[in-house]
């Protein structure tokens, strides 16, 4: 089967997005109280996941999307 690959640039964007989430998760509890620390991390996870989906969009077959 001909396996499609995501472009390195797009993959890099996805990786950076997830590293950003991890960094935010580390700094948030110390800098923002309770819910206001949690909220940006939760939003960042969903955004990074959406970025990952965008990165992989062209590599997946119709049924996998």
């Amino acid at each position: 089967m001909d396996e499609k690959q995501a472009t390195p640039g797009k993959v890099a964007i996805g990786v950076v997005a997830w590293i950003g989430v991890a960094v935010l998760a580390v700094i948030a509890p110390a800098n923002w109280e309770g819910f206001w620390g949690f909220l940006p991390v939760a939003i960042a996870v969903v955004v990074a996941w959406a970025v990952g989906e965008w990165v992989m969009k062209d590599t997946m077959e119709e049924g996998q999307r």
Binding site: V21, A25, V26, P29, A30, F38, A42, V45, W49, M56
Partner: protein, 200 residues
Amino acid sequence: MTLRTLTRNVEFPDPPFIRTLFSSTLAAPLWLVIRFYVGWQWLTSGWGKVDGDGWLNQDGAALQGFWERIVQEPEVGRPPIAFGWYRDFIQFMLDNEWYTWFAWIIVWGEVLVGIALIVGALTGVAALFGAVMNFNFMLAGTASTNPVLFLFAVLLLLAWKVSGYIGIDRWLLPALGTPWSPGAVIRRRRGKDQEAEAVE
């Protein structure tokens, strides 16, 4: 006849509701919420210890104090630890001053489990380590939030295939695979090894 019954393989399929809950990506948003809650609890707890005294400094004095308190057996009433073997285990660690390095494991374990659950990286493994910590805290006589976190960790563990789907596991699990079904990275490596063997 009894032996035949015992050795016969009969598989009972799970009901659709259970399959949806633990094996379908439709349930991923539910697991995301639970992951966020449990992960945030671990992260803030670990971070509080990083900032606090007696964990990463003062030779783990906070953990030493905790261990010294829970190994006590009061003359009246019940001791904090219900099982004698667990009390002996804590006493052994106390006698050998393991709190000096064990405090580091607890603190960074809590932080790492928290981050892994929040970003959904190897969620099942992270939930397992979280459950082990909850289990030990409960054995040590600390109830607090541990029973609830333990329950959620077990559920995340049961749903390991999809609990990190809205997270890094979306790409990590297919790449790594499982012992019974190797992922893309393992298959590629095996293919290269086979090519090298064929050349030799």
